[in-house]
């Protein structure tokens, strides 16, 4: 081992290159995300779940023969079959979103991250964007594959012929992919506040999976419009409303609601989810900027 010296000298650190820019930080976070096995695993599981569950459900679906479903209702049913795995994909995305930040705290990597980007906020923004965009792309691709796989399966099992030229169907799938991405981003915010890996994942799963159970019990007991309305504004419920295929009147398989309760349209639901993402992210930034690392 010889003690060679650095070969370049930056005249005592003065201006070699532009330094930290947001584009550079995004590039760094992209390298970080794709260089971890946990990312590949989470994305692989999302694809398998979305395509697998959709295919399975499409091939065993039956009992619609006697129903006089309109073309629109058939499209709605098709969307529900294609997106049957989305709730589970959201769960995996919740774990991924939390892992991306708690993994850095758990290993000490966060100190390297914040040494390179001492203002901290750009690193957090880049992280949440990378997580959101990559999750959106992966689950979107999985849904496209699911649509292509489900269409012939659904045709042979139920006789329903899905119209893949229908933009409404594709908007629903875009909404479904967005819901998965936004759940990941919400979890990222929770993870950044909690920092501990197990705690962050538990909180995210609690939000996505446990909260609906609690509300279901609550609605069974109370059954007042306000509790249904309140539930509409929680992340898991808003995340299902985002990709509901809009049918004149009511959709066939929408979750139960009561009169006078608010039901969000997909765009409203997207707004609610975005609100959750932003709110939790703001809390996360405030906490991270204030704390020692």
């Amino acid at each position: 081992m010889t003690a060679a010296a650095p070969t370049r000298r930056s005249a005592h650190g003065h201006s070699v290159g532009p330094g930290v820019t947001f584009a550079h930080v995004v590039a760094s976070e992209w390298i970080k995300l794709r260089s971890l096995r946990s990312t590949a695993w989470c994305f692989a599981v999302i694809v398998v779940i979305v395509v697998g569950f959709g295919a399975l459900f499409a091939s065993v679906a039956s009992g619609f023969e006697g129903m006089e479903a309109t073309a629109e209702q058939q499209q709605a049913l098709g969307v529900q079959v294609i997106t049957i795995g989305v709730a589970f994909a959201q769960l995996v995305a919740a774990v991924l979103g939390a892992l991306v930040i708690t993994g850095e705290y758990g290993t000490g990597m966060i100190r390297s991250t914040f040494t390179a980007v001492p203002r901290r906020t750009p690193a957090l923004v880049a992280k949440v964007l990378i997580v959101g965009v990559s999750t959106f792309v992966v689950s979107g691709l999985a849904l496209v594959v699911a649509a292509l796989v489900c269409t012939p399966l659904l045709s042979s099992s139920t006789g329903i012929e899905l119209d893949l030229g229908d933009t409404g169907l594709w908007w629903s799938l875009v909404g479904a992919a967005a819901s998965v991405a936004m759940i990941a981003m919400i979890s990222f915010g929770l993870g950044a506040v909690i920092r501990n890996g197990a705690g962050g994942i538990a909180a995210s799963i609690g939000l996505v999976f446990v909260l609906p159970i609690i509300f279901t019990i609550g609605m069974a007991v109370i059954s007042e419009p306000w509790i249904y309305t309140l539930y509409e504004f929680t992340p898991p419920q808003a995340a299902t409303r985002v990709f509901e295929y809009q049918v004149e009147g009511s959709s066939m398989l929408t979750p139960p609601t009561v009169d006078d309760a608010v039901v969000l349209t997909p765009w409203q639901a997207l707004g609610v989810l975005a609100g959750w993402v932003v709110a939790l992210f703001v809390v996360a930034v405030a906490a991270v900027k204030r704390r020692d690392v």
Binding site: A3, V16, D292
Partner: protein, 325 residues
């Protein structure tokens, strides 16, 4: 150049750093010494903005670290614990760090070669030995070719070859005109590496001076003498300085806290023959021990938690602030 001004850090009731001020200058290696819990790592994390001082401030190359446009090009830092995700390879880690500053792939390859990481660059960091982890940390610190380098316990976990490598690297970086700030608990290592020492004990600066001065300040220089008229000489010195000589095994005598020049003058004034007159330089180890003995955070038995059973320890703990400096 690192300038710390009145850094104080409190964790609840506990004061980790108490009004710490110092300047780390370019062109030399500055050692940062102190017992465990003295606040070395906290101070180093503050320099790069990871920890926030309760009061006081610290600047690097003239401004707070976070206000530099390209901080990695100003300061390279190796923190004590592994600050790397265990699931990533060394080369991926360095690429991710480099990307934040738009530092190219060629520079990443350079620091990998420089730190001898080539054989393991593609391996995941989770399987690294402590020594490999240290090399990776040093590689990351060197990425931006910074004018200031901060290494927290850089030789921790390195084999002897690695220790020599870090020592030579540190000296080389300083010789290039860079600011090099190293912490270590290995006093002997510091004696061979550092030009200047900042000694920290219980969150306070106990000494901030060139290595030779720290040693002198801590123990006082001594003189070893050999003479056929030793008793007379001892009387003279005792009369003037009130010091007690220490007899060495070989028959010579050590007179602490006296300069060779003064002993020579005293001997000459009475016509005393001297066979040997040697200035005794304390080792850094000894100097360090005497500087920090009152400020060790966790004595065996616990001086800080002084019980009525050990009034001496309680008194020692109580007088520590006065003793520092």
């Amino acid at each position: 150049m690192i300038e710390a001004r009145h850094l104080t850090k409190r964790y609840g009731q506990k004061v980790a750093l108490d009004d710490v001020s110092f300047t780390v200058r370019p062109g030399i290696v500055t050692g940062f010494l102190g017992p465990n819990g003295a606040g070395k790592s906290t101070t180093m994390r503050m320099v790069v903005g990871l920890d926030r001082p309760s009061s006081g401030s610290v600047t690097v190359n003239g401004r707070p670290y976070a206000e530099h446009r390209a901080p990695l090009r100003e300061v390279g830092v190796l923190l004590d614990a592994k600050a790397v995700h265990r699931g990533r390879s060394a080369s991926e880690h360095l690429h991710a760090m480099a990307a934040t500053h738009g530092i190219g792939r060629s520079r990443v390859a350079e620091v990998i070669a420089l730190t001898g990481l080539e054989p393991v660059a593609k391996k995941r960091v989770g399987g690294f030995s402590l020594g490999m982890g240290q090399r990776l940390g040093i590689a990351a610190a060197l990425l931006g070719d910074p004018a200031t380098l901060i290494f927290d316990e850089p030789v921790n976990g390195l084999d002897p070859e690695g220790v020599v490598w870090v020592r030579t690297l540190a000296r080389h970086l300083a010789a290039e005109g860079r600011t090099v700030f190293l912490s270590s608990h290995l006093m002997s290592e510091m004696a061979q590496t550092a030009d200047h020492l900042i000694v920290l004990g219980r969150g306070r600066v106990l000494a901030d001076a060139p290595v030779s001065e720290v040693i002198a300040q801590a123990s006082g220089d001594g003189v070893r003498v050999r003479s056929p008229h030793l008793p007379q000489l001892v009387e003279l010195v005792r009369a003037e300085h009130g010091v007690e000589p220490v007899t060495a095994d070989d028959g010579s005598l050590e007179l602490p806290g006296v300069t060779a020049a003064r002993v020579g003058e005293l001997a000459a004034s009475r016509g005393i023959v001297l066979h040997e007159l040697t200035p005794v330089v304390r080792s850094l180890e000894e100097a360090y021990m005497s500087l920090t003995q009152d400020s060790v955070e966790y004595h065996a038995g616990g001086a800080a938690a002084a019980t009525p059973a050990s009034p001496a320890a309680a008194e020692k703990a109580a007088t520590t602030p006065g003793a520092s400096r």
